[in-house]
Amino acid sequence: MKRRTFTALTASLSLAASLMGTSAMAQDNMRIALVVKALGIGFFEAANEGAQEAAAELGNVEVIYTGPTDTTAEGQIEVINALIAQNVDAIAVSANDTDALVPALKRAMQRGITVISWDSGVADDGRMVHLNPSSNALIGNMIVKLAADHLPDGGDVAVLSATTTSTNQNIWIEEMTKVLPNYPGINVVSTVYGDDLADKSYREAQGLMQSFPDLDAIIAPTSVGIVAAAQAVADAGKIGEVNVTGLGLPSEMAGAIESGASQSFAIWNPIDLGYSATMIAHALASGAATAAPGAEISIGRVGTITLDDSNSAAMADPFVYDASNIEQFKSIF
């Protein structure tokens, strides 16, 4: 982490020097700053990997990977102020606070710097575009697709959610219910709530297997629930009979994929996220695209995004993790 900060520092120092010396060189290279919540977090290191990939693809782009050493808004404001002083071309930020960064980011935009937020957004007037990793509709569709993909002849599935009042869980389940008719034969038999507690989720999963002996899959769109359900299935000796799927993190789900309790699960791919954020920042800063509702922006290999009324967009379907790629991602996040 220290070394990285130092590299970033030397990079920015040398860039500042080049600015003072030969300004021509700086104009050739578009400099996009990828500001993360904190340095040293696997998820953001992976996002940087994607950003570097985008930079290599675009050519003449330099990605400055930076952020505070701990996840504070104050730290990010300092970083942003330093970037304004360096006169970078674009800032792509994953914010520690929705509102606290707005004044600093506004100042950046006044200086002609392109500002976008990704992953964790800032308030509308603090950025030009916000990139969500996915959308509620895409997530709702993905969680049922994950179960359906392993049930070609249809089957009974149950949902294990967090708390009854969890907003995002309820929205995802609602979106899932909307697209259910597209998956004939998939029958949602029950929705239970594990309150994001390992023991309660475990018990609820056990209860599901008892109440519905023919259960084929448990969909848990919550990281605590999916891990607990996978353990309950393994302990009940039902690996192969009941497939646990939903939203989880690769590092937490590696054991369940290994044991076979879970065939696959989904979550955003940080590499794609860093890649797409860099692509959008480049498109806006170079004038290839404008930030306006309804605008379409190409994000290279990931596809195209369409901005909605608040100038935010969803990147893509959640990325599916299974036995083929879990090894690569389990050490990342």
Binding site: G207, Q210, Q231, G255, A256
Partner: protein, 327 residues
């Protein structure tokens, strides 16, 4: 006379449990199958361990709110040790779990004994401190199932004479502490220190020191449960067993342990824990709206406590009458 009253209260609770099982089986018959009851007992084992420790603490007029945080901290420490040294034999892991839990319990005990801080304040503080330490040592990260060694996860699941080791540990603890509470000087001192602290002091019992030992025992059991918990659910993170201390206190109160101290038995704590455990395991299968489940859980606790309060009051009156007759 007193003994017979206590036993009737436990019989009453036993009857309530049987009634509960009958009610559940009318909606979901498979629940009362022997294998399922064994599963429910296994699931309730950590609660039984903690309830025994909590009962002893409550007997001495104290309360230990830090048990769940102690469990979580010990669980995190042993799982991190397991990740660092996967080859370490299980006996050492168990010793570390009990040892660390004991130390954390002693810390509570010392503050209560030497500094005379009210126990609810001490344990409210240590509860937060312990959770904070977990965050510091783990950096907020999880220890996941694939990082734990196979032996670490297998121990509580190993079947011995038809029951998992986890269940056997609870059974052994129940037997051991029944003996300690009824047959040893320390066990009787717990009752004396809480039942009438002044009389206990005159009888030569150091009340503070007795409370210290109560916290130590509670801590040791919480530490043991910490390892069992992370091993059973194959995951360790900051918030594991969040709010579990309230379940533990509820189990004790349902089990007829008087919050005023001095009254309670291991059997009562066991039955109280089982009562809660049965409700927790039955709610997912009886097909009741999740919105009602919390209300039902809470309602059952209040009914049980109301019955106990009623029983306590009656007993108080009888003793007074006897005293009146005697004079």
């Amino acid at each position: 006379m007193l003994k017979r009253l206590i036993s009737t209260r436990e019989t009453l609770l036993m009857a309530a449990i049987v009634l509960l099982l009958v009610l559940i089986s009318s909606r979901f018959p498979a629940f009362i199958g022997p294998s399922n009851l064994a599963r429910v007992f296994n699931d309730t084992s950590p609660l039984i361990l903690l309830a025994i420790g909590q009962m002893i603490v409550i007997l001495t007029k104290c309360i230990d709110l830090s048990v769940a945080a102690n469990l979580a901290l010990t669980g995190m420490v042993v799982s991190m040790i397991n990740v660092a040294a996967p080859g370490l034999p299980m006996i050492f892991i168990l010793m570390i779990a009990v040892g660390l839990g004991t130390l954390l319990g002693m810390f509570n005990g010392l503050l209560v004994w030497k500094l005379s801080i009210p126990p609810i304040v001490v344990t409210l503080g240590t509860m937060t401190i312990f959770r904070g330490i977990i965050f510091l040592i783990s950096d907020g990260k999880w220890v996941n199932s694939h990082e734990m060694s196979a032996a670490f996860k297998a121990f509580p699941r190993t079947i011995l004479l038809g029951l998992p080791v986890l269940s056997w540990i609870a059974i052994i603890a129940v037997i051991l502490f029944t003996i300690v509470m009824t047959r040893t000087t320390l066990g009787r001192a717990f009752y004396a220190a809480g039942g009438n602290p002044h009389a206990a002091t005159y009888a030569g019992i150091n009340v503070g020191k007795t409370q210290f030992w109560a916290f130590t025992i509670s801590g040791a059991l919480a530490g043991l449960a910490g390892y069992l918990w992370v091993s059973r659910f194959a995951v360790a993170y900051v918030d594991i067993a969040g709010g579990f201390e309230l379940d533990v206190v509820a189990a004790c109160v349902i089990g007829g342990v008087s919050i005023m101290g001095g009254i309670g038995t291991v059997a009562g704590a066991l039955l109280g824990a089982l009562f809660l455990g049965i409700i927790k395991n039955a709610l997912p299968v009886v097909d009741i709206s999740p919105f009602w489940q919390l209300a039902i859980s809470g309602g059952a606790i209040i009914i049980a406590v109301a019955l106990n309060a009623q029983a306590n009051r009656k007993k108080g009156r009888i003793i007074l009458k006897q005293a009146e007759h005697a004079t």
